[in-house]
Amino acid sequence: MERRCRVSGTLNLLIGLAMGLNLLALASSRLPTLIGAVAVQGVVLGVMPLLMEHQFDWIVALVALGTMAVKGFVIPGLLRRAMRTASVDREVEPSIGFVASLLLGSGGTIAAVALSRALPLLPEHAGSLLVPGSIASVLTGFVLLIGRSKAISQVCGYLVLENGIYLFGLLLIHATPLLVEAGILLDVTVGIFVTGIIVDRIQRAFDSLDTRKLNVLRE
């Protein structure tokens, strides 16, 4: 019992860390910082399932490792490469200012806590911050998607969004079969690979990753 409390305590600590990383992602004015924040968040998320397990389970361990690898290293690496090849200046160029983004992010976090009050939790999840954490990350992802104009930073936003969903998925890690987890990984990896490819193509077609240039198609 007290192990559970300690576990959920450390878990909540990590979740709090992830939320903090959200705010960092929002505040970071340079791409490398942003990518870094996202990478660290990925690693943190990867650790969580191990903590939630009462007894050691290979498959879960594999999933955790896979997540850590992909979210923490592969994708950030990809993005860095894209950034280097595109030789974009490292500024983030927000279309929503940093302060505004921060306010939105923190507002989102508060809203997340408020929303999660309305949603009943199972007893074993009582007191865990998973739900507010995930909602906060999703909202942060949206703010990044809406408020950043570089393709790379939008991809980061998308990643944060995915992380939020992953956080939520942890609620179900006991109940739902691995299928969903596999789904997450598949989605993230394939999604990011494709994103990487497209980012690359955008860079070649428009020799820039500024998506504000991508508004030819309009009414």
Binding site: P120, L122, Q154, I165, G183, I198, L214, E219
Partner: protein, 480 residues
């Protein structure tokens, strides 16, 4: 076995295409595998297999009611694709053919998925597989369209994943075993935790609605349909959207089993009418006939979700409309592709006098336009009439009035644009480009065949389809 074959066969074809050496011969893989798929699908349509209740993948009544339409559409488009890829021989077609077949396989998976997660994975797969198809042309515009499709669609998909999680979490309350097949979920019924079900419904509706292209999540549609080749547009509008629609239907059944059917129907009605309104307003002013098709498809998605909101009769009519819309839209997209190539332009400022340059395609385009605006004797007339009748049956006269008003404005916009490009004196430029892309049977027959199917569907709806739809309605409304 057969249901699984429906999925594996095209995927195998995709692999084959990926390794196939001959650039000229590769396109033939599409019609070949398409034909096998269609034969299989109609075989299953005529003699439906028994479905194990716990199965994750099965050719259940709902799949039976929709999948053959997609398969048929794909077959005709594939036949068209052969000649299309011949005229576009300057582009490598390896990825294109492989991904077309992959899309078909994943579509079949999505239609047959009876498991929340599986359904989501299949839909996601379709989304990603369609990406290379979208920027087949490789132009900057195509890439921009793809980027928007990917991010908007991806966000939608992410939300639907979150929704699926919410639904499964809802099922964990009152001791759910975590079995996410729709049957099991519906069986839990009122046991599902109400707040989670509702949030799941919202997230899933937005997520799959993005794939369907319901307003305001439709923004990717005009760009994607506008820049993709006509054949891809046809598959997207007639196939991919239907997966999302069947997903919505399945989830709606679970939600109503949880006792929230009324609010689910209200949301469907609201978003459907909103989509129709937005589409009508866009259609009134748009000048690009391929984007026009996209908005018209938004309108028809609205019609589908209105139908889905009107109870059994409405869902029946909606399934009917899935068929008639897929086939008619297919005809429109293919003939639009012909016109686009012949005229070398897409807006009513660049394109004029197509009745002189490409008479047959223009005639098909006009006929298809009348068909898609619910003029008899084509399919959509009958299905939309049934939707309206269902609305009156459900006592929703106001909804019916708004529905018809949007139809009217859509008609104004469509006729305005279509006749602008069909009539008048052609531009000299287009008479040159048209010589490079002459009309021949291989590009005229496929849309004509689709139109003929739509006609046949309306005038003499085959009984097997009738009871397929009835069966699907029974499956969806069996929940207590």
């Amino acid at each position: 076995m057969k249901p699984l074959l429906l999925i594996l066969l095209p995927l195998a074809g995709a692999v084959l295409a990926a390794v196939w050496p001959g650039e000229r011969t590769r396109p033939w893989l599409m019609p070949v595998f398409g034909l096998m798929h269609t034969v299989l699908a109609f075989w299953l349509l005529f003699d439906p297999p028994v479905v194990a209740p716990g199965a994750w993948l099965a050719f259940d009544p709902l799949a039976r009611a929709v999948l053959p339409a997609v398969s048929l559409l794909f077959l005709v488009c594939a036949a068209y694709g052969v000649s299309y890829l011949r005229v576009r021989s300057e582009r490598p077609n390896r990825v294109f053919v492989a991904m077309m077949l992959a899309v078909l396989g994943l579509l079949s998976a999505g239609h047959q998925a009876r498991h929340l997660g599986l359904l989501w994975i299949a839909t996601e797969g379709v989304t990603l597989a369609a990406v290379p198809l979208l920027h087949f042309n490789g132009t900057a515009r195509a890439i921009e369209a793809t980027w928007k499709y990917l991010l908007v669609g991806g966000t939608g998909i992410a939300l639907s994943l979150l929704g699926s999680f919410c639904l499964s979490y809802a099922s964990l309350h009152s001791g759910g075993s975590g079995d996410l097949t729709f049957v099991a979920l519906a069986h839990q019924g009122a046991g599902l935790s109400r707040p989670w079900v509702l949030s799941a419904w919202v997230l899933l509706l937005v997520g799959y609605g993005t794939k369907m292209g319901l307003a305001p999540m439709h923004t990717w549609k005009p760009d994607a349909y506008g820049e993709a080749p006509g054949i891809v547009g046809a598959i997207l509008a007639g196939g991919v959207t239907t997966v999302a629609f069947t997903a919505v239907l399945r989830i709606r059944a679970v939600v109503s089993a949880a006792g929230e059917g009324a609010i689910a129907d209200r949301t469907l009605l609201a978003i459907g009418l909103f989509s129709m309104l937005v589409a009508a307003l866009f259609l009134l002013g748009t000048r690009d006939f391929k984007r026009m098709l996209a908005y018209s498809s938004v309108e028809h998605m609205g019609i589908l979700s209105v139908g889905a909101a009107l109870g059994g009769a409405g869902v029946w009519a909606a399934l009917f409309h899935v068929w008639s819309n897929s086939l008619t839209k297919g005809a429109l997209f293919l003939s639009a592709g012909n016109i686009n190539r012949a005229a070398g332009g897409r807006t009513m400022d660049q394109v004029r006098g197509m009745s002189i340059i490409a008479p047959q395609s223009a005639a098909i385009f006009v006929a298809g336009m009348f068909a898609v605006t619910a003029c008899p004797p084509f399919g959509p007339f009958f299905s939309e009439l049934r939707v309206v009748r269902a609305a009156f049956d459900a006592g929703r006269s106001g909804a019916a009035a708004m529905f018809l008003g949007c139809m009217l404005f859509a008609f104004f916009g469509l006729t305005r644009l279509v006749f602008a490009i069909v009539d008048g004196r052609p531009r000299p430029a287009s008479s040159i480009t048209s010589r490079r892309f002459p009309e021949n049977a291989s590009v005229v027959m496929p849309p004509l065949i689709l139109l003929a199917f739509s006609l046949w569907l309306g005038l003499a709806t085959p009984t097997v389809l009738l009871d397929a739809w009835t069966g699907a309605v029974a499956q969806l409304y069996l929940a207590p």
